[in-house]
Symmetry: none
Subunit: 195 residues, 4 copies
DNA sequence: TATGAATGAGTCTTCATTCAT
DNA sequence: AATGAATGAAGACTCATTCAT
């Protein structure tokens, strides 16, 4: 537990994360990681054999860190609308935050044939779908949401969110865009005066 | 115009397009392009100084090839609903077509600092926004579309579409997803029985 | 004598012998030996400073293990012919056994400048020459062997034997070859009906 | 015919031959070859992708350069004894010449798994066997040689010769040894006063 | 004795780029 | 316009060897 080597791995991942966020995946070399960590060539290779190995572990760590954010709240009986507004607020902020994201790196990594049939991205997507399905069913059952087609609503929500995030890494997206998206999703789900 | 050199450039771009679609941007080398075209090293450099140059020209060509698909139809008085259904049908097909797209290459190219402040992507985005604004205003004015917030609708439409396209390059997206997206957009814009 | 360290050395040599037989000398690294023995880097270096050191000890051990196989028999008055036939039978088997020999490793080690003026190979050669000289003199004196030139006979016997062994490590030698060699040596030494 | 690249290849092979003769196969690096030829890294790789490639071509060239030295003489009716004495004289000199031979390199190369089932060594061996078979049959038919077993005689001749050559690369072989070997082979084949 | 993390040198290999022809 | 040999820099990867624990 907590051996020296483990600590080194944490350091490597932390420094490499910064590099990947800044330069994408393919432009980060093992040499870059050496310099960023202060490790020698051989020292780095002792822990990771390639940037892909480092990246995979980073992404897996991030994915595993995500927890079921809806389950608790539903269990506590929080109103569906309240939960929705909270998550949409978070989405809005994340869409606006262009920096510091691994978007480009993820795109390069998984877009270049590293997308095995059960990669982290796919697992993440499925987990997210289950969470939304839960919330949407809950909201509809309680009469808080309109009776929309659940799968369709999920697709629209998730892909418009992802679309903004990914495009944001390529060009300046209008700063009002996140607000627009969120607002329309609310309109779609929540009945009431807006219509 | 129409000199021999131009033809060679066309050939280079055509072959390079295939490489970029298959391998993304960063993994295509000048050597690859030489081999794909049958040109010698020196011969290729006579026309292009880097893969970035080739790629830029390819993207510009593609962007320029896009015309204002709504203007004509509006001028001819076609119903807004009809125009909408047509374009959504096209979007649906494009979302389903994962292969042969430059998504990954574009992401790598523009995501790595090549995204100058007036790059092709941004120009394309603006052009697209104008076209949609035109259509939405037209439809709302004629009472065919609900009086949605135009900018918001545009954002939702375009980014959900882009989100699916980009994600499709990274993992298998459910084949019903394009249908879901399109269907909700119709619901959003078109008043009537669907609700 | 018989300390713990000695046992470790024996283990190292035994495992390394397998590596040398399989991969020759130059392709065996200290890392390989670590893995083969289960020792850590530091642990191995405590006992040997290089693969050359290990190899030298292995070869010395093998050479020292060889005893004077003719002396006893001559002392016991066994017939020269009998002794000859026994040793040729052994030679024949060894020539046929391509595997498991250190031929390649020895060649690499001593062929690359490690052949000091009094190396194990030379000592072994001299020892072998003395043994044969003894036998040949014995046989000739007793009238069992033809009066061949002793040094010449020794050279022919030993180098044809070594030639087959060494070539056998490089390519498939005809399986009848050992028999041929042995048979001609018998013809050369033993007078009688064969002529 | 005679393009620039071909000349470069000849130079590379000539310089590399010297390196292989001096250092064996495994200790010659591509860097060594660069330095020996004055070529840059990239320049060398343009012609050969590994030392193994260079070595294979060198060995093939050498093997192909060997011609049927007996055929002509037999056709011209030269006496078998004369031919034999000539070739044995050559063998004697070659056995004595330790330097400048590729023995060690060949041993390392073919001993390390490069010995495909139809390697240059095997081809050379077969060719040599056919030549000797021709000569021996010729000599026996003409009554110049004793009626020895042809295959057996060939094996003894060739492997004792090879044995001396190979051992000569590992240690100082007695300078009289080549003479011994040759003399016994003459005794074996030529009838007459020697016995 | 033994561990295993760390170093640093050395080699391999690939490319962008140039240039004489 | 075009060829293809050549360069040199950069990055990947592996090892022998050391050292704090």
């Amino acid at each position: 537990m907590g051996k020296k080597g483990d600590r080194t791995k944490q350091i490597i991942k932390a420094r490499a994360l910064g590099l990947f966020a800044r330069k994408g995946f393919k432009d980060v070399t093992m040499k870059d990681v050496c310099e960023a960590t202060g490790l020698s060539r051989g020292g780095l290779y002792l822990h990771y054999g390639s940037t892909g190995e480092i990246f995979t572990e980073i992404v897996d760590d991030l994915m595993n860190a995500q927890r079921d954010e809806f389950g608790d709240k539903i269990a506590r009986g929080m109103s569906a609308k309240e939960i929705l507004l909270q998550v949409l607020e978070r989405y809005k902020n994340e869409m606006a935050d262009t920096q510091g994201s691994l978007s480009v790196a993820i795109y390069e990594f998984f877009g270049a044939g590293n997308a095995g049939r059960n990669n982290a991205l796919l697992r993440q997507y499925r987990k997210s779908r289950e969470m939304w399905r839960q919330l949407l069913e809950y909201g509809i059952r309680r009469g808080e949401f309109r009776p929309v087609a659940i799968d369709a609503a999920f697709d629209l929500i998730v892909f418009s969110y992802q679309g903004v995030r990914m495009y944001g890494a390529l060009m300046d997206v209008d700063e009002r865009t996140p607000g627009h998206i969120v607002s329309l999703i609310e309109t779609l789900l929540l009945p009431g005066g807006k219509e």
